[in-house]
C-alpha cells in the first residue's frame, strides 16, 4: 500500500477521467461543465505533483515505476502546458463545433498515458503508457470528423504510428531477448558486453521514439497531421507528446543503454543534424502556418536532441531547458493563431497575416517577439535555449554539430523573417475580431512576457533543471 501514496497524481487523474465519463454519459448538455472540470482537475493534478515532488528517487512496483527529479520536472511542465492548452482552445472547439464530452476526456487520458511514460522504468510499463497516449491522440487528430483533412490526418497518424510502435515493440523484444530483463536498471547491468542483438534493439527503439518526437527521417506524418487536425489539437501535438517523448528519450539513452553510448551517439547526432537542416529548409516554401510550425518543430526537436547527443549532464539539462522554452514559444504562437478569427472562421494561412500590424498592434508585437524568439535572436528566450544547448555541445568538442546547428538557425531565420515581413511590411487586409476569451489573453500575455523578460533572470529554468542528473 505504501506505493500508492507516490502515485496519487496518477490515481487521481484516472479516477477523474472515469467520473467525468460517467457524468457526461448520464447528464445531458454537460459538455462545457466537463471541460471546465477537466481543467480544474488538471490544476489539482499539478498541485499534487508539486506537493509530492521530492528530491529522492522512489522506485515503485518492483522497480518498474520510478519517480525522480526528471520525472517530476517533466510532469510539471507537461501538466502545466496541458492547462494552458485547454485554456486557449476552449473557445475554438465551441466555434468549430467540437465541444463533445470526449474531447477533454481524451486529452486527460492522453496526459495520463504520458505521465506513465515519463515515470516508467520498465519496457512493459513504458509501452503501456505510450499506447494509452497514442490511442487518445489518434482520435484527437481526427476529431473534426466531418472535415476531410482531419480524418486523413487521423488515419495517417494511426497507420504510421502503428508502424513505429511495431518497430518499437520489436526493439523492446530484442532488448529483452539479449539482456534477459524488461527492467531498465537490470538491462543496464546485463548489457555490459557488446552484442549485435542489443544494438539492433537500440536502433529499433530509437526509430520508434524518433517517430514520436517527429525527428528526421521519421517526420513525414508531422506536417499533414499538424495541418489537418483542429488547431487546438495541433497545439496539443506540438507540445505534450514532445515533452513525454523527450523524457523517454533521456531515460532510454541514459538508463538501460548508458553503457552503449558509442553505439547510439552517432545515431542521435545524425538525427539531430538532419532534423535541424531539413526542418529549416522545408519550412521555407510553406503557405499554411500550421504546416510551417510543424517543420519548425521538427527543426526545434533537432536542437533538443543535440543536447542529448553530448552524453553529459549538462547536455541533458540543456535539452530539458530547450523543451521548456520551446513549449512557451509554441503556446504563444498558437494563442496568436487562435486570435485570427473573423465571423466564426479561423484563418491559418501565412497570407492571412498580411498587414496585421496596422490594426492589431499588440497581437503583431506578440507574434514578432515569438517569431524572433523561435529564430533564436537575442535577447529573447529562444536564444538562451539554443545557447545552453550549444554550450553543452561545444563542451564535448562536437564542433561540427554546433556549427551546422547554428548555420541552420540562419536558414530558419529566413522563414520566420518572412512571416514578420508579411505582418509588418505588407498591405493590410480585413480586420479580425478583437474580443477574445480571457484564457487566451492570459496565456498570450504570460508567454509573451516570459519570452521577452527571460533575459533578466536567465537562470530561472536552469537552476531547477540542474538538479536532474542522469550520469
Amino acid at each position: 500500500m505504501e506505493n500508492f501514496q507516490y502515485i496519487l497524481p496518477e490515481i487521481f487523474i484516472s479516477v477523474s477521467i472515469m467520473l467525468f465519463l460517467l457524468f457526461g454519459v448520464f447528464k445531458k448538455n454537460s459538455t462545457s461543465l466537463i471541460y471546465n472540470l477537466s481543467n480544474i482537475s488538471l490544476v489539482i493534478l499539478l498541485a499534487l505533483i508539486i506537493n509530492h515532488s521530492s528530491l529522492d528517487s522512489v522506485y515503485l512496483f518492483n522497480n518498474s515505476y520510478l519517480i525522480d527529479s526528471l520525472s517530476n520536472y517533466m510532469k510539471i511542465i507537461l501538466v502545466g502546458s496541458g492547462i494552458f492548452v485547454m485554456l486557449t482552445g476552449s473557445k475554438y472547439i465551441q466555434v468549430i463545433n467540437l465541444n463533445k464530452i470526449e474531447y477533454p476526456i481524451l486529452i486527460l487520458s492522453s496526459i495520463l498515458g504520458m505521465m506513465i511514460m515519463i515515470s516508467s522504468n520498465d519496457l512493459i510499463v513504458f509501452y503501456m503508457g505510450l499506447e494509452l497516449q497514442s490511442l487518445a491522440l489518434y482520435v484527437l487528430a481526427s476529431f473534426n470528423r466531418d472535415n476531410l483533412l482531419s480524418t486523413e490526418s487521423g488515419l495517417k497518424y494511426f497507420v504510421l504510428s502503428a508502424l513505429s510502435s511495431g518497430l518499437l515493440l520489436y526493439g523492446c523484444s530484442l532488448t529483452y531477448g539479449f539482456s534477459e530483463s524488461t527492467n531498465f536498471d537490470q538491462i543496464l547491468i546485463n548489457s555490459t558486453e557488446f552484442n549485435y542483438g542489443t544494438t539492433f534493439g537500440i536502433v529499433f527503439i530509437l526509430v520508434g521514439l524518433a517517430f514520436k518526437i517527429s525527428a528526421v527521417p521519421f517526420h513525414m506524418w508531422a506536417p499533414d497531421v499538424y495541418q489537418g487536425s483542429p488547431t487546438s489539437v495541433t497545439l496539443f501535438f506540438a507540445i505534450l507528446p514532445k515533452i513525454a517523448s523527450l523524457s523517454v528519450f533521456i531515460k532510454f539513452l541514459y538508463t538501460p543503454f548508458a553503457n552503449m553510448n558509442d553505439q547510439w551517439q552517432t545515431i542521435i547526432v545524425f538525427i539531430s543534424i538532419a532534423s535541424m537542416i531539413f526542418g529549416a529548409v522545408a519550412a521555407i516554401g510553406q503557405k499554411n502556418l500550421k504546416r510551417l510550425i510543424a517543420y519548425s518543430s521538427i527543426s526545434h526537436m533537432g536542437y533538443a536532441l543535440a543536447g542529448l547527443a553530448t552524453v553529459s549532464n549538462q547536455g541533458i539539462q540543456s535539452s530539458i531547458t530547450y523543451i521548456s522554452i520551446y513549449l512557451v514559444m509554441n503556446l504563444a504562437f498558437f494563442s496568436c493563431l487562435f486570435m485570427l478569427k473573423r465571423n466564426d472562421k479561423y484563418y491559418e494561412n501565412i497570407e492571412d497575416l498580411s498587414g496585421l500590424s496596422k490594426k492589431h498592434p499588440i497581437l503583431s508585437f506578440s507574434l514578432l517577439i515569438v517569431l524572433f524568439s523561435l529564430a533564436g535572436i537575442p535577447p529573447l528566450a529562444g536564444f538562451f535555449a539554443k545557447f545552453y544547448v550549444f554550450l553543452a555541445v561545444i563542451e564535448q568538442s562536437m564542433y561540427f554539430l554546433a556549427i551546422v546547428g547554428l548555420l541552420a538557425t540562419v536558414v530558419a531565420a529566413f522563414y520566420y523573417l518572412r512571416i514578420i515581413k508579411i505582418i509588418y511590411f505588407d498591405p493590410e487586409k480585413d480586420e479580425y475580431e478583437k474580443s477574445h476569451n480571457l484564457g487566451l489573453k492570459i496565456t498570450l500575455a504570460i508567454s509573451t512576457i516570459f519570452i521577452l523578460a527571460y533575459f533578466i533572470y536567465p537562470s530561472s529554468i536552469t537552476e531547477i533543471v540542474s538538479k536532474i542528473t542522469m550520469i
Partner: protein, 498 residues
C-alpha cells in the same frame, strides 16, 4: 556599490520606449511622443557627457565597472568603459537626439513605433560599447538586428524587403560563428569576462580559429570587401534616419570589436593575419572608391564611401602602432559624424525633390546657399581636408601604415585622392553647375530643425578638426595599454617557442 551609471545609460532609452508605448498620444502627429523621445535621448546625452567629465583619463583600467550575477554561476553581467569605449558611447548618445529631431521630415506613418525602435536601438548600441563580457557583448550585438530590420523594412524605400532581409541574414550568418567562438573560449579558459581573459590569455594553438570566427562577424559588420554588398542596399532603402544610425554607429561596433577583442584577446593570431586584413582593407579602399565614382544615386555613393573609410579604419587598427590605432578610432568618430551629416544632407534634398539621382540636381547653390555651405563642410570632412576631423584620422592611419609597410601606405594614399575625387565631383554636380531642372527652383532653403541638426554636426567636425586634443587625451592611455598587452603577449609567445 556606487550609482550604476552605465546601466542607467543603457536602460534609460528602453524606459523611454516603454513610456511611449504605454501612453496614448491624442494628436495625430504624436508630437508628445516625439518630445518624450527627444527629452530621454538628450538626458542620456547629458548623462554620457557627465560620465566623460568624471572619467579618469589617465587610468588604463576599466571604470564604472558593474558586475552582477546573471547566468547563475558562470556568466556575469559586466559593464565598464575605458578611454576608447566612452567616445563611442558619447557618439551614440549624440547621434540619437539628432535622429529624433530629423524624424519628422522622413517618417510619415507610424511615428510612434519608429521612435520606440530608435530608442531600443540606442539601448543595444550603448550596451555593445559598454559590455565587458563576451556573452553580454554578443547579446547586444545581435539584438540590434531586430530594430534595424524593422526600421529598414517598415519605413524603407521600394526594395526595402530585399534590403532588410539581406542585412539581417548577412549579419546573422557572420555572427553565429562568433557565438561558437565565444562558447569555445568559455570552455578553454573558464570565463568570458574580458578583463580576466586579458590577464589569462588564450593559448596560441586556439587563437587562429577563434580569430577567424570573430573576424567573420566583424568583417560583415564593418563591412569589409567582399562581404560589403549588404551595406549599399541597406543604406539606399533605409529611411534617412536609419541610414544615419547604420553609418554612424552600427558600423563602428565592428571596428570597436576589432580593437577590443581581436587585438586584445588574440594578439598572436592578429599578427598572423595582418597581411589578410591589409589586403582586404586596400581592396576596400581602392575598389569601393572607384565604385563610388560611378554611382548615380547619392546615398549609394556615400554608402560606398563608407566602405572605403572603414577600410582605412581596419588598416589602421592592424598596423598595431599607437598612431594607427588612435587614427582608426579618430577616423571612426569622424566618419560617424561626417557620414551621419552626409546622409542627413541627402535627406534634405530628397525630402524636397523626391529623388536621389545625382543628375537630377545641379546649381543648388543659387537657391539654397545655407545648404551649400554645410554640405561643403561635410564634403570636405569626408575627403579629409586639414581642419576637419577626417584629416586627422586618415593622417594618423597613414603614419602608422608607413611605419609598418611603405607599399601598403602608398596604395592607401591613393584612396585619399580617389576619396577627394568622388566627393568633390558629387558636390560639383549637386551644388554647382547650371540649374537645368526647372522644378528645382521651387526648393526652399534649410528649415529651422535642419539648421539645428546639421549645425550640431558641423561644430564637432570643425572643432575636433582643429583641436583634437580632448578626444586624443581620452584614448591615449587605453590604446597604449592595449598595445602594451599586445606586444607583451607576442614576446611571451616567441619566448615560449624558443
Amino acid at each position: 556599490m556606487n550609482f550604476p551609471i552605465l546601466s542607467s545609460l543603457i536602460l534609460l532609452p528602453t524606459i523611454g520606449a516603454l513610456f511611449i508605448l504605454f501612453t496614448k498620444s491624442t494628436s495625430e502627429k504624436y508630437q508628445s511622443s516625439k518630445y518624450v523621445a527627444l527629452f530621454i535621448s538628450l538626458a542620456n546625452f547629458l548623462l554620457s557627457l557627465y560620465l566623460w567629465y568624471v572619467f579618469d583619463k589617465n587610468s588604463v583600467d576599466f571604470q564604472f565597472v558593474e558586475n552582477r550575477e546573471w547566468l547563475s554561476g558562470f556568466i556575469n553581467y559586466k559593464v565598464g568603459i575605458d578611454g576608447i569605449s566612452i567616445l563611442f558611447v558619447i557618439l551614440t548618445t549624440f547621434i540619437t537626439p539628432i535622429c529624433i529631431i530629423s524624424v519628422n521630415a522622413t517618417i510619415k506613418n507610424r511615428l510612434k513605433d519608429f521612435l520606440i525602435a530608435i530608442l531600443i536601438m540606442e539601448t543595444f548600441m550603448i550596451g555593445v560599447f559598454c559590455s565587458l563580457d563576451l556573452v553580454v557583448f554578443y547579446l547586444f550585438f545581435e539584438a540590434g538586428l531586430i530594430p534595424m530590420f524593422l526600421i529598414i523594412g517598415i519605413w524603407g524605400g521600394e526594395r526595402r524587403v530585399y534590403s532588410a532581409f539581406k542585412f539581417f541574414l548577412y549579419t546573422l550568418l557572420g555572427s553565429v560563428l562568433m557565438l561558437v567562438a565565444i562558447i569555445s573560449i568559455y570552455w578553454i579558459t573558464g570565463t568570458t569576462d574580458v578583463e580576466k581573459l586579458y590577464e589569462l590569455g588564450i593559448k596560441a594553438e586556439y587563437q587562429n580559429l577563434l580569430w577567424l570566427a570573430f573576424f567573420s562577424s566583424f568583417a560583415v559588420k564593418t563591412p569589409m570587401w567582399p562581404v560589403h554588398t549588404w551595406l549599399p542596399d541597406a543604406h539606399v532603402e533605409a529611411p534617412t534616419v536609419g541610414s544615419v544610425l547604420l553609418a554612424a554607429i552600427l558600423l563602428k561596433m565592428a571596428g570597436y570589436g576589432f580593437i577590443r577583442f581581436s587585438l586584445g584577446l588574440f594578439p598572436i593570431a592578429s599578427e598572423n593575419f595582418t597581411m589578410l586584413v591589409y589586403a582586404l582593407s586596400l581592396i576596400a579602399i581602392i575598389y569601393t572608391s572607384l565604385v563610388a565614382l560611378m554611382q548615380e544615386d547619392m546615398k549609394k555613393l556615400i554608402a560606398y564611401s563608407s566602405v572605403a573609410h572603414m577600410g582605412f579604419v581596419t588598416l589602421g587598427i592592424f598596423t598595431m602602432t599607437q598612431q594607427g590605432i588612435e587614427g582608426s578610432i579618430f577616423q571612426m568618430i569622424s566618419h560617424g559624424l561626417v557620414s551621419a551629416a552626409l546622409f542627413l544632407s541627402v535627406g534634405v534634398v530628397y525630402e524636397r525633390h523626391h529623388t536621389r539621382l545625382i543628375n537630377k540636381y545641379g546649381g543648388l547653390v543659387s537657391i539654397m546657399p545655407r545648404y551649400a555651405i554645410v554640405f561643403m563642410v561635410f564634403t570636405l570632412g569626408a575627403l579629409g581636408l586639414p581642419g576637419t576631423t577626417g584629416f586627422i584620422g586618415e593622417f594618423l592611419i597613414l603614419m602608422g601604415a608607413f611605419e609598418k609597410n611603405i607599399l601598403v601606405a602608398m596604395i592607401a594614399s591613393l584612396g585619399v585622392i580617389l576619396g577627394a575625387a568622388y566627393m568633390l565631383w558629387l558636390f560639383k554636380r549637386v551644388v554647382f553647375g547650371e540649374m537645368n531642372n526647372q522644378e528645382l527652383k521651387s526648393m526652399k532653403d534649410l528649415k529651422t530643425f535642419e539648421i539645428i541638426t546639421l549645425s550640431a554636426l558641423v561644430i564637432p567636425i570643425l572643432f575636433f578638426g582643429f583641436y583634437p586634443e580632448p578626444l586624443m587625451n581620452s584614448i591615449e592611455a587605453s590604446v597604449e595599454n592595449t598595445l602594451n598587452m599586445y606586444n607583451f603577449d607576442l614576446i611571451n609567445n616567441l619566448a615560449s617557442k624558443d
